[in-house]
Subunit: 339 residues, 2 copies
DNA sequence: TTTATTTACGATATCGTTTTCGTTACATTT
DNA sequence: AAATGTAACGAAAACGATATCGTAAATAAA
């Protein structure tokens, strides 16, 4: 039953609890001899400090939370992985919460966190988040939040994103340059800033090349896979079928792939596809998928680094800052004009 | 600065702290009137209990840890997702740790957890784990551990796995039935029970069909992608090249896909491939990949459920139990004999 | 009326740390 | 010799909640 605490240590050394505590924290008040003895005894007795006692005393938990819309998503997992790496380096612990794109769940989780359980939060907002009260309250209570990817412009803090507008522009231009004339945009949520920016890039590229926007080509998808399938199928079987598709998120590109298989639409001959994606098997798909890939791991690292920087400073108010880490276009067969 | 605690509530209500505490916990000692008042006031003042004070007092943290070898792995993510669902239902929180297949890191993380920070642990052991002292100590200290997938037979507790032996047997037989004569097995780690069982299934299938094992066909891979590439490339370019491959994990199948592309080996005509995998794009690969898929989400749910069951009982010693959730074979083109 | 019993609440110890503030004993300065 | 300084330690008060007592008043039983 080696549940040894400071008191036990003190007793077995015949010194006071405070001396033991200070010795272990390497205080200048304690002589080197005593420190050696204490450390040796602690080692021997297998002392392991109770974290919660310290948290209570110091109002610091060495723990952060990561809130993401969904776990089963390559982008978010890579971002978490990056954040986790930095957390381990800083001896921080990570609590994970999936909001499942449910604003009530997001709000409820944040309420639970609004009590000192975590020192800070990394989050990507739920896609239908349109009220920010529950987020602002955390910050008012001194719990800093750093946003990544699905950010919240309305809140003053650090935000890590990729160059969504430029990437959307680039993706669309790539489709144009590889021969597409009628390009559709698959949107995942009208409430998301990233989606909006990618769409703006799409529109700007069309504009630059003097292409009239056809509204039927902008498909508003959602988290409901079934209605997505219906909408995209309708798009692909309409007489005004596009010859190029720009998917704002990976999931929609994969749905399109499935539908093309079903509808015998050839990629890239009949339809070219480009998508934001962190799929590691993009080059093994049939055909391989041209992607805009976000440096998700780096984004996670950066977000965590910024948070820890301010936590170390004991500053809970993080000034507004927009950090952009560029995505990379990887051209593959799904937009190959020579196939 | 709404950092209101029980004392503040008590003061503003002119009653004692203990009464407030009991009222909020719906104690029978408190009258309904008082309860109403307290609850209303708590609501009004935005009271949010400090979790760590309670944890300290009760020696319970409503938190569990999940330790996995790596985050960027479809199987583990789905398992985490399942566990997270159950955790949210039970109002438990989840700390995530990646061991990166590093036994020292695993050991160090477990040491950090050996102090009441978590009530219990869900874990998949690091692939080179061969000593179990660091794990046994946790259990001795009353922190229950449930294993999933990469389990530790030597420790008495609940273990959730899939039917690895039968699945290995089935995979190998499927290759035989689709025409493969020389079947290679790609192993990920000789220290892993799951690998060992899958391999036994492979050997048993060969035996059943009176096929002599050729030792050069059992490739011992690792976490080092480079040496894996070398070994598999050597296998694929040898004169005794196999015409079927059974990959024990997804990663090795993907490496093989890449190498086949590079070496112009046609799948499935020249080489058939089957693999354990939770890839969601298995059917979109070129060619689509025949998989043995574990119900990872369910495995995660099951593991968490068992842990919570014992935590609710305040029983920290979980009796030994082997729970098997069967995998499913999905036949696709990578083993299609008619292509 | 006296003695139990119940109801509703308060005082206080406790969980295990950290930290402030004393308090020695001894060395150093005037 | 008196005053000051310093090094090394201990006592005790936090941190915020919970649970064990105790106790007053009100009710019931004798």
């Amino acid at each position: 039953m080696p549940k040894v605490n400071l008191k036990d240590l003190a007793k077995s050394l015949n010194i006071s609890v405070s001396t033991v505590s200070k010795a272990l924290r390497d205080s200048y008040e304690i002589s080197n001899e005593t420190k050696k003895k204490v450390i040796a005894k602690a080692q021997q007795m297998g002392y392991n400090p109770n974290p919660y006692a310290g948290f209570l005393r110091n109002n610091k938990s060495k723990t952060i939370a990561i809130l993401i819309p969904e776990l089963t998503n390559n982008y978010f997992i890579q971002a978490i992985s990056g954040a986790e790496t930095i957390a381990q380096e800083n001896n921080y612990h990570i609590l994970i919460y999936a909001t499942n794109n449910n604003i009530e769940k997001e709000s409820s989780i944040l309420k639970h966190l609004n009590n000192g359980r975590v020192d800070g939060i990394l989050m990507s907002v739920s896609s239908n988040t349109s009220q920010y009260n529950h987020i602002e309250e955390l910050i008012r209570n001194g719990i800093p939040i750093v946003f990544f990817d699905r950010i919240c412009h309305e809140i003053e803090t650090a935000k890590i994103t990729t160059n969504d507008f430029a990437s959307g522009f680039m993706a669309t231009e790539h489709l144009l340059q590889t021969g597409s004339k009628k390009i559709a945009y698959l949107s995942i949520s009208e409430h998301l800033s990233i989606d909006h920016k990618r769409k703006q890039g799409y529109l700007e590229a069309l504009n630059k090349h003097d292409i009239q926007l056809e509204k039927e080509l902008m498909i508003q998808c959602s988290d409901d896979e079934k209605t997505n399938i219906d909408k995209i199928k309708k798009l692909l079987t309409s007489k005004k079928r596009p010859d190029g598709i720009f998917a704002s998120v990976e999931k929609l590109a994969l749905t399109t792939y499935h539908l093309c298989k079903e509808l015998k639409i050839r990629i890239p001959q009949d339809l070219k596809i480009i998508s934001f994606s962190n799929l590691r098997t993009a080059d093994l798909l049939n055909p391989s998928l041209t992607t805009i890939t976000q440096p998700a791991y780096e984004i996670g690292k950066e977000a965590a680094s910024i948070l820890f920087k301010y936590l170390a400073k004991r500053k809970s108010l993080i000034p507004n800052e927009n950090i952009v880490i560029n995505s990379k276009l990887t051209i593959r067969d799904s937009t190959n004009p020579d196939l």
